[in-house]
């Protein structure tokens, strides 16, 4: 087990290095350097110290040096928590990132839990009642869930709620608590707002999970050891829940890491419609205005979240599956 974790750790670090390289390339993708953008901005503002600032930045990012040197400089800063400067907000990126990353993680994890809690029972029901009326209904709805873009759901939800309840459902806090320090009341307010993005983001993931759980369980129910369990005289419930479901979970846990990109993507898009204080809106703004340090940092952070999520999923899999544990 320790060897297994060790191996996965090494591979995780390796992937992170590659991720950072891709992130760096993307930062450098737009034509011209970001300094050109910044210089133009400073010109407009008519700052007198423009040239000095530009030179300082050139030095900070080693722009006069070869590309690999720039990368090393950037990544070493990244590791120390220096993510560069946002030109749009004219602030250090790290000041902008942490808060929003936190909310992104909260929304993502809550969505994940939501989709698992909903999907597993439905998937089990569908598999054990194959082609029944209930199964067909669930199947139909899970297809709908797979087919509706999440931003559309968010949009419709907002329209409906403002039509029916006459209230706006955007954001994660009511206006009163927006800038207030954390308190119990604020937390309750937060929970009251959280459920909408969680449902919206979790929905498409739920549909996929239902399909997967149903398929896995149907496969497992054909396995010889399920017959063995029945031949022992176990009741059908024990056969299904103790012997079959436990095995059907493995591919699901394995896919846990794979469902994360969808969750993060979903939350990114949805948060724009619902104007949540997560990474999404900031990230897309940064992309649109080519504020590349900010965008690159976010992208690498999201990828790192994924890589860590995958790592945790692998460990979870080793915990539930002895075949991997004893490898």
């Amino acid at each position: 087990m320790t060897a297994f974790i060790g191996r996965r750790l090494v591979s995780m670090v390796f992937t992170m290095v590659l991720v950072s390289i891709v992130g760096f390339i993307i930062i450098n993708l737009p034509p011209g350097t970001y300094l050109d953008v910044y210089r133009a901005q400073l010109m407009v503002q008519g700052t007198s110290t423009a040239d000095q600032q530009i030179q300082a930045l050139e030095k900070r990012y080693a722009l006069d040096k070869p590309v690999y040197y720039q990368y090393v400089k950037w990544i070493s800063g990244f590791v120390r928590g220096d993510f560069g400067r946002s030109f749009q907000y004219n602030r250090e990126v790290k000041e902008l990132v942490w808060n929003r990353m936190g909310f992104t993680v909260v929304v993502s994890i809550a969505s994940l839990l939501f989709s698992w809690l909903i999907a597993l029972p439905i998937g089990i029901y569908s598999a054990t009642h194959k082609y029944s009326f209930g199964d067909n209904i669930f199947t139909f709805f899970s297809f709908i869930g797979l087919s509706v873009p999440s931003f559309l759901v968010a949009l419709v939800l907002m329209v409906v709620s403002s039509r029916v309840f006459g209230a706006s459902v955007g954001g994660l806090f009511s206006r009163a608590y927006q800038d207030a320090p954390w308190s119990w009341a604020k937390f309750v307010d937060f929970l009251q707002h959280l459920w909408i993005p969680v449902i919206v983001v979790g929905m498409s993931g739920t549909a996929g999970l239902v399909r997967m759980m149903r398929g896995n369980l149907l496969d497992i129910l054909n396995m010889q050891y399920v017959q063995t369990a029945r031949a022992k005289g176990l009741s059908e419930n024990i056969v299904i829940y103790k012997h079959a479901v436990r095995n059907a979970l493995h591919p699901l846990v394995m896919s846990l890491g794979m469902s994360l990109p969808g969750i993060i993507s979903g939350s990114t898009v949805v948060s724009i419609v619902l104007s949540l204080p997560t990474t999404g809106p900031l990230y897309f703004n940064a992309l649109r205005s080519q504020d590349m340090f900010l965008a690159g940092t976010f992208l690498v952070f999201m990828a790192v979240m994924l890589v860590v999520g995958n790592f945790l999923a692998d460990i979870a899999l080793a915990v539930v599956d002895p075949r991997i544990r004893y490898e």
């Binding site: 992937t15 590659l18 991720v19 891709v22 993307i26 993708l29 737009p30 034509p31 297809f143 709908i144 797979l146 087919s147 509706v148 873009p149 931003f151 559309l152 949009l155 419709v156 907002m158 329209v159 403002s162 039509r163 706006s168 955007g170 794979m258 994360l260 990109p261 969808g262 993060i264 993507s265 979903g266 990114t268 898009v269 724009i272 419609v273 990230y283 897309f284 992309l287 649109r288 080519q290 965008a295 690159g296 976010f298 992208l299 999201m302 990828a303 994924l306 890589v307 995958n310």
Partner: protein
């Protein structure tokens, strides 16, 4: 050419075995087709897809009522006009008609207000001449499936902020959105099957490199990655170029899933005795891959491809919705939905959400179709 000498005599003792005439004399393809036809949802999905491609991708100008780009100052945010068969006196008209639309400026809000004028009736004509468009982007023509005589207007889905006919725009947008999916998936298939085959068949260093790339690509959340790449496209590129680049960007991450699956299949086929037999008779790697592996993986590839088109359509829609995908004046469903970003706008003009309905319908149909093909192609399903 060498010739083969006959060394076999007619066997003396081996009795001839009659082959059962009934032991399924259908080819595998026929079996798959039969099973597919039994799945009603999949067939329905297939029909919808076919209709969508004919109407929107091939003949959007003909099926649309107007040129999708014509702006009308007098018809900004006009509500949908539905064809009527029964007038207010309850009289039935065989030929449907639409009521006239009066437009006034509301001086209180300085917004255009549209009022249905029931005194004017404009009959709907079929195969009629109207605004000019280009068929297949080449021939100028002005024949539309249906329309009304001016000064009457027929905005089936209403109009947008510049008074453009939303119905025509939805069809035109479908052309882009559906094509992005198709082009993207073709690139996905090429990249995925070539790299997957190399990875699985040759193994070793190439396999290692390709697998690392796949892992790397899978470490990025798709939409943010696509958005970053799309944002990096030079703004001075022509819309057509941007459109193609978006397709490439979409397939750039999408091939990884297919490559993994193809690799797994190739690894499995490599162990199959028929591949070993081909090797033993001296067949080249090329022949083994092309004759023995890819045809067997084909149904698998088609299923994965079909199931990945909806993802592409959704991705394009989301990107364009956020302003990072297809750029106006080219329209796609996502571009059309940009207008619906503000809840306040949608509240007043709910028809702006109609393109979303088409997105859902297209994606749903693709999902049904793909699922149906998968079930039909899987020999182990009941």
């Amino acid at each position: 050419m060498t010739d083969i000498t006959m060394q076999i005599e007619t066997p003396t003792e081996t009795p001839e075995i009659p082959v059962d005439q009934e032991r399924g004399s259908l080819t595998q393809g026929q079996l798959i087709w039969r099973r597919f036809l039994k799945n009603r949802l999949a067939v329905a999905g297939g029909i919808v897809i076919l209709l969508f491609y004919v109407i929107m991708v091939v003949f959007p100008g003909f099926f649309g009522t107007y040129n999708y780009n014509t702006q009308r100052e007098d018809a900004i945010y006009a509500p949908p006009q539905l064809p009527q068969w029964r007038d207010e006196e309850g009289k039935f008209h065989l030929r449907p008609f639409v009521y006239g639309l009066e437009t006034e400026l509301d001086f209180a809000s300085f917004e255009w207000v549209h009022i249905v004028d029931k005194s004017k009736k404009y009959p709907v004509y079929f195969i009629t001449r109207g605004e000019e468009y280009r068929l297949f982007g080449l021939f100028r023509t002005n024949i539309h499936l249906f329309g009304v005589e001016p000064p009457g207007t027929f905005f089936l889905f209403g109009t947008d902020d510049l008074g453009r006919d939303l119905f025509s725009r939805v069809l035109q947008g479908g052309q882009i959105s559906l094509t992005v999916g198709l082009v993207g998936v073709i690139l996905t298939i090429i990249l995925g099957s070539v790299l997957g085959t190399i990875s699985g068949y040759y193994g070793g260093v190439m396999d290692n490199i390709i697998q690392r790339i796949v892992e790397l690509m899978m470490s990025f959340p798709d939409i943010p990655l696509w958005a970053a790449l799309a944002a990096a496209l030079p703004p001075e590129w022509s819309p057509a170029k941007t459109f193609f680049a978006i397709s490439v960007i979409l397939s750039l991450r999408n091939w990884t899933g297919l490559a993994r699956q193809v690799r797994a299949k190739v690894l499995a086929y490599r162990e199959e005795d028929y591949a070993v037999a081909a090797q033993a008779m001296g067949a080249s790697d090329r022949r083994i891959i092309l004759i023995h592996m890819l045809p067997n993986a084909a149904s698998h590839i088609i299923v994965i491809a079909t199931l990945s088109i909806p993802g592409m359509i959704l991705a394009e829609t989301s990107l364009s919705f956020l302003g990072l995908g297809i750029q106006p004046p080219i329209v796609s469903w996502g571009v059309l939905l940009q207008q619906a970003q503000q809840v306040s706008v949608v509240l007043e003009r709910p028809w702006l959400l109609l393109p979303g309905f088409f997105v859902v319908l297209a994606v749903l149909s693709f999902n049904f179709l793909g699922d149906g093909i998968r079930d039909a192609a899987d020999p182990y399903s009941n």
